[in-house]
Amino acid sequence: MTKVLMKGNEAIGAAAIAAGCKYFFGYPITPQSELPEYMSRELPKIGGVFLQSESEVAAINMVYGASGAGARVMTSSSSPGISLKQEGISYIAAAELPCLICNIMRGGPGLGGIQPSQTDYFQATRGGGNGDYRLLAFAPANIQEMVDLIIEGFDLADIYRNPVMICGDGMLGQMMEPVEFTNHTKRELPEKTWATTGTQGKRKPNIINSLYLEASILEDHNKHLIEKYNKIKENEVRVETVGLEDAQLVFSAYGTTSRIVKSAMTMLQEEGYKVGLIRPITIWPYPYDAFKKINEKCKDILVVEMNTGQMTDDVKIAVEGRQKVHFHGRQGGMIPSPEEIAQVARELLGGK
């Protein structure tokens, strides 16, 4: 298939449909409203359902219901809307239902602004709702990668019976890039024997539930979830690394910010500096091991994010004190420039 130029938000919709998703429940919010708009136009054409709910809380619970009935389903929102969905996400994680959730992040806290941001890193990686659960969370850096991860993400959600979150920022949602919908390898997917599809008098009813009043039974369920999360940690970590073997300074950044860092790296390399990059593609599970590959002479990591430094916690866990972890960030919807990032790096590298 040939390349088409697509807006990020519309590409999310096209990728979901390519992945066989026929159900979308959501509520509009800038900067991701082109996605529900796209779904409202396209899903009826393929016999699917687009439903604009009365609220985000309703939307996520519709996802819970549709997923419980065995459907491939998604929702999307931006930061404040994703906050409203947290209760439902916790229930979905507890009931082990597969679904895909997109967060096209904007500045916060509170209602914040509508400009690009990465403020929901903690929320996505630590579990924004109550209880002890994890989401498989991807942070794509360009529209093609986002499309590929969405198509794969639906499969991973089915395989692990776990919600998958795609974390983008306003830039990724609003920008246009060439994208190709190539044939993706079809995975062997488990049969949804747990889905509430009607017993036809042949089996006991399936029950989708997240309430366990008996402590020991809930603990068993928790242990089962831990086992599953460990399996995800073992198998699904994704990361891009650049130049770790001889870098004097290693950057760490994810999503669109990592692209701005790459521009800064080109500037620094032209000046003769050796710089590397660790770009987490999964922010949970986190690529802790990648940091072990940094050469011994390198003593500094520079984390760059569009927030107040939420990922520095994970980087500190990863480097186990081997390197000093520095941070440069912009907040509120401001986007760092390659020039300012390069300048911070020069200062750490002992230049002017």
Binding site: L5, T30, Q174, M176, P338
Partner: protein
């Protein structure tokens, strides 16, 4: 070669549209491309701008801070983007609406009265396309033929009837820019 282009003006001047045309044409010509709008709470009459990158190598930052070229359709945009341009940048100024010249002596200015030219050819709405014609004549970022080819991809098949008018607008812009270059 990486063209880092800022296109800026009022909402409603068709800035986003010429940005998308250029980007789509770049993709069709086999380049790496990106289009990033500034999408504040803007509306008709507010400021609008987009960053267009057309490159021989994969695009890293989709933002444009140090531009290699600019399309500047109103005065506030010139004040905003002139200081950030790279030395040697080419700026295309809508002289129908902007009185002043470029102040820096290390960037090159082309002054195209696009609203007047558009009015002369009978359609004030194509001022942005006149500007695109002038811009492509000088910078050669993509070919005008490719832009016409992708016209319906950007605007939809039902807009095909407007292609001749837009072709005319591009040609007039191109002619004016050529003349200005000779005189310079």
């Amino acid at each position: 070669m990486e063209h880092k282009i800022v296109m800026a003006g009022f909402g409603g001047q068709g800035i986003m549209a010429i940005g998308q045309l250029t980007t789509y044409a770049g993709m069709v010509e086999g380049k790496h491309v990106s289009w990033l709008p500034s999408y504040g709470p803007e509306m008709r009459g507010g400021t609008a701008n987009c960053a267009v990158i057309i490159s021989d190598t994969p695009v890293s930052a989709p933002t444009v801070t140090a531009s290699t070229a600019g399309i500047i359709m109103n005065a506030p945009s010139l004040d905003k983007f002139e200081p950030e341009a790279l030395p040697g940048a080419k700026f295309f100024i809508n002289s129908s609406l902007i009185d002043r010249k470029i102040q820096r002596d290390d960037i090159e200015g082309f002054y195209i009265p696009v609203n007047d030219i558009a009015a002369e050819i009978g359609n004030p709405k194509v001022a942005n396309i006149v500007m695109l014609g002038a811009f492509l004549e000088i910078t050669k970022v993509v070919s005008p033929e490719t832009v016409l080819k992708v016209f319906t991809k950007v605007f939809g098949e039902n807009k095909a009837k407007f292609i001749p008018m837009n072709q005319k607008a591009m040609e007039e812009g191109s002619k004016y820019a050529k003349k200005q270059r000779v005189n310079a």
